[in-house]
């Protein structure tokens, strides 16, 4: 499914998945800095993550300050926090 067709829950689930891949391959690459296959994997999932994070911020509010783009209302601290079931 294209991320443009995903609803909020699906897009967040996608972000959780690709982000997990990025975190784990990052930790592997820390001690394997010459593994080109691993770098390909990193670049692939890091790109998917960047695209998804931007799409999420645009539709549902930012998950990071770097993707915040406020216009007339500061959403960051007003929408539910993760422990309240926001972005979950």
């Amino acid at each position: 499914m294209m991320i443009s067709q995903m609803n909020q829950a699906q897009l967040l689930h996608w972000i959780d998945m690709v982000s997990f891949a990025v975190v784990e391959i990052t930790e592997y690459l820390d001690t394997h800095p010459c593994d080109e296959e691993a770098m390909k994997y990193f670049n692939h999932y890091a790109d998917l993550r960047r695209t998804a994070m931007r799409a999420y911020a645009e539709k549902y509010g930012p998950l990071t300050i770097d993707t915040a783009n406020p216009d007339n209302y500061w959403q960051w601290a007003s929408s539910p926090w993760p422990w309240e079931g926001g972005n979950c």
Partner: protein, 140 residues
């Protein structure tokens, strides 16, 4: 420095509160093998790690442990949210409730407060790495 990401590493949506289980799970927050100890262990040890790559792993894993810490706190929060004082007392939660109500505070299941003595940072790479293996072995 750090940046916050406004999502959990893995989603948590608890539909049935249960203070009895909360009291047990809380140990993974501030208990002897909890995420608070894990994150502080790696993030403290990295400064004296002579191998730059290993210092990188300690930084990134320590950071990931902070995300785990947030998930555990969320579980405890959702397990106790909305329960009355009577319900909490019936579940054996009174000793915690009297000091913290339903707030999140780092302690072991048995009520022992979080203590930095749960982890080591000795300034010696081999000693610290052995401690890391022992600690993560305990968590698994």
């Amino acid at each position: 420095m750090w940046n916050y990401e406004k999502r959990l590493q893995y989603p948590i949506n608890i539909t049935r509160p249960n203070a009895k289980i909360a009291q047990i799970i809380m140990s993974q927050y501030g208990g002897p093998d909890g995420e608070m100890g894990a994150s502080m262990r790696y993030l403290s040890q990295r400064y004296s790690m002579p191998n730059r790559k290993v210092a990188g792993v300690l930084t990134d894993i320590g950071t990931e442990e902070l995300a785990h810490l947030e998930m555990v706190a969320t579980i405890v929060r959702q397990l106790t949210k909305g329960l009355s004082a009577e319900e909490l007392e019936a579940a054996g939660f009174a000793p915690y409730y009297v000091d913290h109500t339903a707030g999140i505070w780092p302690q072991a299941a048995g009520g022992i407060p979080f203590n930095a003595c749960e982890f080591q940072s000795k300034g010696d790479a081999i000693t610290d790495l052995f401690e890391d293996m022992a600690a993560d072995g305990a968590i698994i």
